[in-house]
Symmetry: C2
Subunit: 217 residues, 2 copies
């Protein structure tokens, strides 16, 4: 931070997310110090790339020494806007919704603040201390609880309607677990958590000529 911010390649942002994931993993394993070399190896990029990516935002290491895991982690969270809580809601409390409600990976960054469903059996239930509300209450609750991201885990045919309601209510991002393309204004970020998304990385390998022969029958 505190810098003229030239223009940051989008690819850099994706990599910063990866570096952050690696730093959290290192921290968990009790490692305090790292280097551009180590980060590069784990992220499968070059050490030049790591240093350049970080240099867009500032200088967080010590020459001749490397980076302090905790410091760099904090700085990356700051850069990525993950140094504050993001309010989350889950729409659709089927098995996937319930599984996500118990997901241990929200970390210090995301906070579940509401659950929605339309099934009278589910509305009123308490999950992790939060009452499941009817979808009709979405707009009001999203505003009251400062919810910025919605996780959509409803059946495919209901997903677009739910997305419209979330957008209308003012969320900034949608994580879509339903296997359909959502139409939303372009200032709302949609991330598709489907099998195509999951396997796009695998496609890099498939497209690699060496593998291709072997894998395609």
């Amino acid at each position: 931070m505190s810098r003229e911010t030239p223009k940051i390649p989008n690819a850099t942002i994706s990599r910063l997310v990866t570096y952050l994931r690696i730093l959290e993993s290192l921290e968990e394993r009790g490692v305090n110090r790292t280097s551009s070399e180590q980060l590069a190896e784990e992220a499968q990029v070059t050490a030049f790339q790591v240093r350049k990516d970080l240099a867009y935002f500032g200088s967080y290491g010590t020459r001749g020494v490397g980076y302090t895991v905790q410091v760099l982690k904090r700085e990356l969270r700051q850069i990525l806007g993950l140094n504050r809580k993001w309010g989350l809601c889950i729409v659709g409390m089927g098995r996937l919704g319930q599984a996500l409600a118990d997901y241990p990976g929200f970390g210090e960054t995301f906070e579940l603040r509401a659950f929605f469903d339309v099934d009278p059996e589910k509305v009123g239930q308490r999950i992790r201390g939060i009452e499941v509300q009817h979808l009709n209450d979405l707009a009001r609750t999203v505003a009251e609880r400062h919810i910025e991201v919605g996780l959509v885990t409803v059946p495919a045919e209901a997903a677009q309607t739910v997305a419209d309601q979330l957008v209308e209510a003012g969320v900034r991002g949608i994580l879509n677990f339903a296997p359909v393309v959502l139409e939303v204004p372009k200032e709302v970020a949609v991330e598709y958590v489907d099998f195509l998304a999951g396997l796009s990385r695998l496609s890099f390998f498939i497209l690699n000529p060496k593998w291709r022969e072997e894998m395609m029958g």
Copy 2:
């Protein structure tokens, strides 16, 4: 296919996956014909980009007319190596694993072929007609049923061990739902399905100076 294959930008591959998603959505809505313009709009890129991306692989449209949804979809699936079934297994039949087992988004490309767990309560149960096996049987079953991709939905502390076993058994890709970084050989593709992955797109917005002021307290 059938072409000199220059070198394909990685970014192109990611976009092909997006185009495919859009085509599947169009097909579902009964649309048969589309254009680089329409694809561009839905994918949030330029029409030039769409045409260039496709041109790396061949020419699939009709000048003056556009593209046939079904044809282009088939060609993209072919390019991406999704024109064959990929065998999947799920390791960890907790709620997330079970929810994924019922996930309707596998489409024509992915096929569930095995489930694994260590809990004696779960081993032996049948889910979607497939018996849950003990983790000890993983290597054998992966080989016998030609499983190429493993979905890891075990607790964080068990994830690395499971990943090792999957790699040893010969899978090509891992979808990791556990919130930890996995160490695998670089010829195995790992995709992280965690909240950082899901929200990296949101970070693009956060990094956009206009939004930044407004969102960061």
